[in-house]
């Protein structure tokens, strides 16, 4: 584990996603300061931090909803920070947004098909659909129900299922545990590990530091828009500063 002084992307040229010295502003307000992270193939990487530290800003920047002022984002060797959101999705990045953001007045099934938007291969879509139903059997049982009638945990499953419909190489999740019952949170994190085991790289942004770092191969700690720590998940969990700040130990 190391306290960061220099960006680490140089040594991670082979990584799937690398964010290099990214600065993002809301108008004049400087939100992200020289943020650099990298996500290797088939890793689970977790970004943790409190409220208002820039986690969601980083996610929105990755998906193209916000623009970088300086710095670059490279996915599979290609610069993506100048692409539009729909172009980024086509590159193989799927995002589960904060608050799930389902289509409330569409059925479960229609929500899922919507996720397959970037794909053209019908057989592939069909396979993805079967895989998602296998992963979340409840979605299959209630597929003609409106999404709004689902509980929080079920909605999160649907949101993850929808993101998987696009056969992403990188799945980004913004606060998947937010507002869920503890039992649902455990279920979601177990599922994320299953998804990862099938070869999908996962970038997780969480306030639930303990749970997310315990499943992560590596983690980053973000404070005031800066990455202040990085290291393997288990090591970060035993860091005194992190323990004191986030776990209250």
């Amino acid at each position: 584990m190391s306290r960061l002084s220099r960006p680490t992307w140089v040594k991670n040229i082979m990584s799937l996603l690398s964010v290099n010295d990214v600065n993002v502003y809301y108008g004049d307000v400087h939100i992200l300061h020289d943020v650099s992270i990298s996500v290797g193939e088939k890793e689970i990487v977790s970004i943790v931090g409190g409220n208002g530290t820039g986690k969601t800003t980083l996610m929105k920047t990755l998906s193209g909803l916000l623009r970088t002022k300086t710095g670059s984002i490279i996915f599979q060797g290609q610069e993506i920070h100048h692409l539009l959101p729909y172009e980024i999705t086509r590159q193989g990045i799927s995002q589960v947004m904060e608050g799930r953001r389902l289509f409330p007045f569409m059925t479960v099934e229609d929500n899922l098909w919507m996720g397959a938007y970037p794909l053209n291969d019908r057989e592939q879509i069909q396979r993805n659909f079967a895989n998602v139903l296998h992963l979340f059997p409840i979605l299959g049982k209630r597929k003609s129900q409106m999404a709004k009638s689902f509980s929080g945990g079920e909605q999160q499953m649907l949101a993850i299922g929808r993101a998987l419909m696009a056969s992403p190489r990188l799945l980004i999740l913004d606060e998947p545990s937010l507002g869920l019952a503890p039992v649902s949170v455990s279920l979601i994190f177990d599922t994320l590990q299953q998804i990862n085991a099938k070869g999908v790289t996962i970038l997780l942004v969480e306030q639930d530091v303990k749970k997310s770092l315990s499943i992560a191969s590596r983690g980053y700690v973000i404070e005031h828009g800066r990455i202040v720590m990085e290291g393997p998940g288990q090591q970060l969990l035993s860091d005194p500063h992190l323990k004191e700040t986030y776990l209250g130990i």
């Binding site: 998906s63 389902l102 007045f105 938007y117």
Partner: protein, 331 residues
């Protein structure tokens, strides 16, 4: 509903509609019938952008104006048949919709509505100040030719009735096609949560532009029809804010995003306005606008999704939402 029962239902409706003129032979009722279909047609055209795509436009009178003025000016200045003018007007309107939409689609909710309202007002002011070509605030009168079908004029109102019914069915056909196609499906997602749709990779501007262009094309064609039916157009009546709001109100009252909703809304508003005119005569001008307001408030208060939903609840029919992907792929 199976396709067969749907066909049968369609044929029954067609037969009833073709018999209607035999019952209402006097020109006054015939005129109301034509206006009824025209307004239902306009409401359905508005519905493509305002209902299916969920973009509440308050500037649709601009497209009515573009349709009416294009065909009329082409006819008056160069003697070009309004049938051709109708197509030219529709093309102009499609371009205008994309042009207006490009900056406005980034706006949400009320801001989008206000921007479209402003666009129509600007067009109205331009027309009112172009005296030579567009007749300014006095408007344009179309030369009476009596029976000249190629010039879109006929003394027998049945001529207009047949055309408006055909227009009405064409917009229903296109609406149905949109609702069952991928485009309709994506528009529905945009209506539900546009940021979420965007994050899934949907190109928002593209699909909103498609909806706006189709909606504008139909609206403009209706504009030409109106000009030829009334043989007189003026900016206040055709491009004014009143018409824009009327079209939106019809759909909201009836039920946005459905096929029956806008038709119900149009029937309710046109019939109630005509009855008021009939019984109140010239007294209490503006009473119809007040009535619209009361109906609108009542519907929004008790059934925000429109009267259509109430009627559907009443008949208690269970209609499944249909996905363009459903056929054999999902199960």
């Amino acid at each position: 509903m199976s396709p067969r029962t749907e066909w049968i239902r369609g044929i029954i409706i067609l037969v009833v509609l073709s018999l209607l003129p035999l019952i209402f032979q006097n020109p006054y009722t015939m005129s109301i019938l034509i206006l009824l279909f025209l307004y239902a047609y306009f409401a359905l055209s508005w519905n493509i952008l305002g209902g299916i795509a969920g973009q509440l436009s308050l500037g649709h009178s601009a497209y009515v104006g573009i349709g009416a003025y294009t065909s009329t000016v082409l006819f008056l200045q160069w003697g070009i048949s309004p049938w051709i003018g109708m197509i030219v007007g529709a093309i102009f309107a499609a371009f205008a919709a994309i042009l207006i939409g490009f900056p406005c689609f980034k706006l949400r909710g009320a801001y989008f509505s206000l921007a479209t309202l402003a666009a129509a007002m600007i067009l109205q002011i331009i027309v009112e100040n172009t005296n030579n070509l567009l007749g300014g605030p006095r408007g344009l009168e179309i030369t009476l030719l009596k029976d000249a079908p190629w010039q879109f004029q006929y003394t027998n109102k049945l001529f207009y009735y047949v055309i408006v019914v055909l227009l009405f069915f064409s917009v229903i056909g296109v609406t149905r096609w949109i609702l069952h196609s991928r485009i309709g499906y994506y528009l529905n997602a945009i209506k539900n949560d546009q940021e979420a749709a965007q994050s899934l990779g949907v190109n928002l501007t593209r699909y909103k532009s498609i909806a706006a262009a189709i909606s504008a094309i139909f609206t403009a064609i209706g504009g030409t029809f109106y000009a030829q039916f009334v043989l007189y157009i003026n900016p206040e009546k055709i491009i004014g804010t009143n018409l824009s709001i009327q079209l939106a109100v019809m759909c909201i009252i009836g039920g946005r995003g459905t096929i029956l909703g806008p038709i119900l809304g149009a029937v309710l508003l046109v019939v109630s306005a005509e009855l008021l005119h009939l019984y109140m005569g010239g007294k209490m001008i503006g009473l119809d606008i007040m009535l619209y307001g009361i109906i609108l408030m009542t519907v929004i208060r008790f059934e925000p999704q429109g009267i259509y939903v109430l009627i559907r609840k009443f008949f208690n029919r269970f209609t499944r939402s249909t996905s363009p992907f459903r056929d054999g792929r999902s199960s």
